[in-house]
């Protein structure tokens, strides 16, 4: 028996390693699928919209519009509180996101293209959330595009189509159109947030400031 002991140990470790790797791989695939499948109603809504990326109820009394740059640190810091606010206000609030990438941010435009390319496959908001969540990681990466592709894979997108879309004129025009819209509305910095068309002052760009603006907007609506 002792003669075969080393073979048994090595075989056991091989089996354990392969088993553990398979389990880890499956759990990661499941979590990726869950992320891709999250908020299907919102995804559907955003994909239906031809002009803007909208998350939330179409008949919500308050509309929050964000002009954002995925690489701008304050935008990244605001992303978490804004997501929390969306959950808190539920059907009373809908959020619209417009791209406003600044060229001083090395990967901001590529990130906007990645989000738009994901949007063409119905996953704009998932990519939006992922880009903000991982901002610190890709911002300084020399090859951020490869990371964006890995995010697309994570979200279960058709990677071949994603690569094509990122380079496409449609996506570039979409981002340019968002920027032109922002410029026409006086956007100069990011994030710039409008609540029911009223621009929030820079001092209100925090969780409590945004909540106050939403509460104020809700109070302005006549009771039915």
């Amino acid at each position: 028996m002792k003669r075969y002991l080393p073979f048994i140990i090595v075989a056991a470790v091989a089996l354990l390693t392969v088993g553990a790797a398979a389990m880890l791989y499956n759990s990661k695939r499941k979590s990726s699928s869950a992320l891709a499948a999250s908020s299907p109603a919102q995804t559907e809504e955003s994909s239906k919209s031809a002009t803007a990326h909208v998350r939330g109820a179409a008949d919500a009394p308050v509309t929050l519009e964000e002009f954002g740059d995925f690489q701008c640190p304050p935008c990244g810091q605001m992303a978490g509180p804004l997501r929390q606010i969306e959950k808190e206000y539920g059907k009373k609030l809908r959020v619209i996101f417009y791209n406003f990438p600044f060229d001083i941010h090395q990967h901001a435009r590529a990130a906007a293209y990645a989000a738009e390319a994901a949007g063409l496959q119905g996953h704009f908001w998932e990519m939006h959330d992922l880009l903000y969540r991982e901002q610190a990681a890709w911002s300084n990466a020399p090859d951020a595009e490869r990371l964006f592709e890995s995010y697309a894979t994570m979200l279960g997108l058709d990677i071949g189509r994603f690569r094509q879309d990122v380079q496409s004129e449609a996506v570039k025009q979409r981002v340019t159109a968002d920027q032109q819209l922002g410029a026409s509305r006086g956007v100069k910095n990011t994030p710039t947030i409008f609540v029911n068309k009223h621009q929030l002052p820079p001092t209100s760009l925090g969780g409590s400031g945004v909540r106050q603006a939403i509460d104020h907007a809700l109070a302005q609506i006549p009771q039915r």
């Binding site: 002991l5 080393p6 140990i9 470790v13 390693t17 791989y25 992922l130 991982e134 020399p142 994570m154």
Partner: protein
């Protein structure tokens, strides 16, 4: 795999219990180190294959390293080769502990090869990418410890 030497013969020739036990202890330590390296490399391989360079503890440096061109050979993650190498080290250490002839030779050769590869990756991180991945540094530490065992252990052990 070559046949094992007789352990009782070895004990008689070495004369003492300590000398007889020394190889077992050394190679057991090596095997445990290799297991740690195997876990690290396997984790990185799964991360890479599942497209999750995204969840690397939120460290930008980690992303720069694992998302770089140096982290793959073609479509194969370098960490997968690392996992195989650690498994090899573990296997040779186990067989050497059981006194299989030539297992130590393969063990030493593989550890030396991994040591050289580790030096290359440290160079890549320090001078080409200007970023260090903690998983890679953990692996490098294990390889350095294995190399230390190889150097410190007498040839006949």
């Amino acid at each position: 795999m070559p046949s094992p030497k007789s352990r009782s013969d070895k004990r008689q020739s070495s004369g003492t219990w300590t000398a007889s036990r020394a190889p077992v202890i050394v190679y057991t330590i090596a095997a445990v180190l290799a297991l740690a390296g195997l876990a690290d490399a396997t984790y990185l391989t799964v991360q890479s294959l599942s497209g999750e360079t995204a969840v690397c503890g939120g460290s930008a440096d980690c992303f720069r390293v694992l998302g770089s061109a140096y982290a793959k050979i073609g479509s194969l993650p370098v960490s997968a080769i690392g996992a195989l190498a650690y498994f090899g080290v573990f296997s040779f250490a186990i067989f050497a502990a059981f006194r299989y002839a030539r297992a130590r030779t393969f063990f030493v050769a593989l550890v030396c090869a991994m040591f050289l590869v580790t030096l290359w990756f440290l160079f890549v991180q320090a001078f080409l990418l200007h970023a260090f991945c903690r998983f890679c540094l953990f692996s490098a530490a294990i390889v350095f410890l294995l190399m230390g065992l190889v150097v410190a252990t007498p040839q006949r052990v």
